[in-house]
Subunit: 97 residues, 2 copies
Amino acid sequence: MKPYYAVIFTNSKTNQVEGYQKMAEKMSDLASKQEGYLGEESAPGITISYWEDLESIRKWKDHPEHREAIELGRKTWYASYKTRIALVEREYSFEKP
Amino acid sequence: MKPYYAVIFTNSKTNQVEGYQKMAEKMSDLASKQEGYLGEESAPGITISYWEDLESIRKWKDHPEHREAIELGRKTWYASYKTRIALVEREYSFEKP
C-alpha cells in the first residue's frame, strides 16, 4: 500500500444548528471533487477525509468556499474542534465471508 | 508537538448486536489502562484511539482479552471493518472564546 494522509476532524457543536447540515453536505461534495481526494468517512462529531499528499490537503484548506465555511463554522456551529493531519502507514481490512 | 499515532477503526455492524455495547465499553476501558495510551474519540461506526508509538499499538493488539474481543467481533458484530495506523504529524485546535 502506498502511504496516504488522513485528516481527522473531531468537533463539538454549539446549539446553533441552522444551516449546518446543508453546509456539511456542500463541503463534503466539494471536497470530493478536489485533486488528491481519496474518500471520506463520517459520524456525528467525527469526519475523516483521506488525501494523496500534504499538498492536496493544503489546497483544500485554502479553497475559497472552504475557507468561508470554516469561518462560518467558527462563528456559528462549532463550540470546539480539532484537526489532525496523519500519515496512514498501514491498514487492515476485514469483510465477513 | 511530539508526533504520535492514531488508530482509525471504522466498521459496519451485522444485525447481531447482543453483547456488543458491553464489550465495546470493556475494551475501551481496558485500552485506557495500557502503556502508551493517549486517548480515544468515538462515534457510531468510528473509533479513533491515540498512542505514543507503534510498540504500544502492537502490544494492545496482542493483549489476550483484546484478541478474544476481536475474534468475537469478527464472528458476530462486524460485517466489515478497516483499521488504519497513522502517524499524527500536525494538529490544530479551535475553542470558542
